[in-house]
């Protein structure tokens, strides 16, 4: 990514108020969700809304990522074709496999050419949200040079292996470690799953610190109020990181 994305704030692609207010919380990036946060009957309307929003609203201080529907659904490809011409920073791909990433990369190359955009100006962020995706994370993130980050969606992943999520997160320790190390080895950013209790700012702080220690470079936020805490934790860790090196 162009700048270090500490916070990645998710908003619904079908709610104008959230689209307008998203930059207010100073996230490094926002994820405009066309998938989970939009009901099936509103997919078409949300897609158009997001296209218009990207043209109209001032997102100059944030990276705009659009989370598309799974490519296996009837919506995924339409999402990309509608939104790519208004040039989001990246698409986030659920249930991503290496072949999906490659296919999308090719499609984007065509669109970029047609629109006169620079080659590879639109990035891809695979979402790691099922067991197969977790175990093939290495090949997925290396499938295209457009992949600049990966996002661990531990809610869906834990559901896939039949586990219950806890605030402490012991049940996702392996997944976190695996995804973060794969991404760090590939030299890309890695964004941790959101902390689901939006009213528990202390819990969020501890969870963010844990993600940071495990090698994540950023964390998802599902409420505007979470952004500041996440930014503060990652900023503090950057300052600390400079210190122990003198002892190595």
């Amino acid at each position: 990514m162009q700048k270090n994305a500490r916070s990645m704030y998710f908003v619904s692609g079908n709610e104008p108020k959230m689209l307008q207010n998203a930059p207010v919380f100073d996230p490094d990036s926002i994820v405009i969700d066309l998938a989970r946060r939009v009901p099936a009957t509103e997919k078409d309307s949300a897609r158009i809304l997001v296209k218009e929003a990207l043209r109209f609203l001032d997102y100059s201080n944030v990276e705009v990522i659009v989370r598309i529907n799974p490519l296996s659904s009837e919506y995924g490809l339409k999402d990309v074709k509608t939104i790519a011409p208004v040039k989001p920073y990246a698409f986030m791909i659920p249930k991503a496999r290496a072949e999906d990433i490659q296919a999308l990369a090719n499609l984007l190359s065509e669109i970029e050419k047609a629109q006169g955009f620079e080659e590879e100006s639109i990035k891809l962020i695979p979402m790691i949200d099922n067991i197969v995706g977790l175990e093939s994370v290495h090949s997925t993130i290396n499938a295209s040079s457009r992949v600049t980050a990966a996002f661990l969606n531990a809610e869906d992943l834990a559901a896939d292996y039949g586990s219950k999520r806890t605030k402490e997160g012991d049940e996702i320790l392996y997944a976190r470690s695996k995804v973060s190390m794969a991404c760090r080895a590939a030299g890309i950013e890695v964004i941790d799953t959101p902390y689901m209790d939006i009213n528990d700012s202390e819990g969020l702080e501890m969870d963010t610190e844990k993600a940071n220690l495990l090698g994540f470079t950023g964390k998802a936020a599902i409420d505007g109020r979470q952004v500041e805490t996440i930014n503060i934790v990652f900023d503090a860790s950057l300052k600390q990181a400079a210190f122990p090196q003198t002892y190595i």
Binding site: E15, P16, K17, Q20, D44, S45, I48, L49, K51, E52, A53, R55, F56, L57
Partner: protein, 90 residues
């Protein structure tokens, strides 16, 4: 774009607009705009223009457009109108 049936898009949530389009017997674009008085006074003409421009751009005709506005900005009005027209025409 031929409007063959009645269709809606948007919602009555704050900052959104609920647009209902339906076929009209008479040619042209027939607009009914509802919003708070203060919004109509300050921005009524602008909102009407946004709707008419977008409807014309999409080639809509013989259509009645009802817009129930909840403080939507121009981009939302354009998007909801396009979604409603697309839904009404296929």
């Amino acid at each position: 774009m031929l409007v063959t049936k009645t269709a809606q898009a948007g919602s009555t949530a704050n900052s959104d607009v609920l647009i209902t389009v339906s076929p009209s017997e008479t040619p042209g674009i027939h607009l009914q705009l509802k919003s708070k008085d203060v919004v109509l006074k300050l921005f009524g003409e602008q909102i009407e223009k946004v709707i008419m421009d977008k409807a014309k751009e999409l080639g809509a005709d013989n259509v009645t457009i009802k817009a129930e506005d909840k403080g939507a900005l121009d981009y939302t009005i354009r998007a909801r109108l396009q979604a409603a027209l697309e839904r009404a025409s296929n």
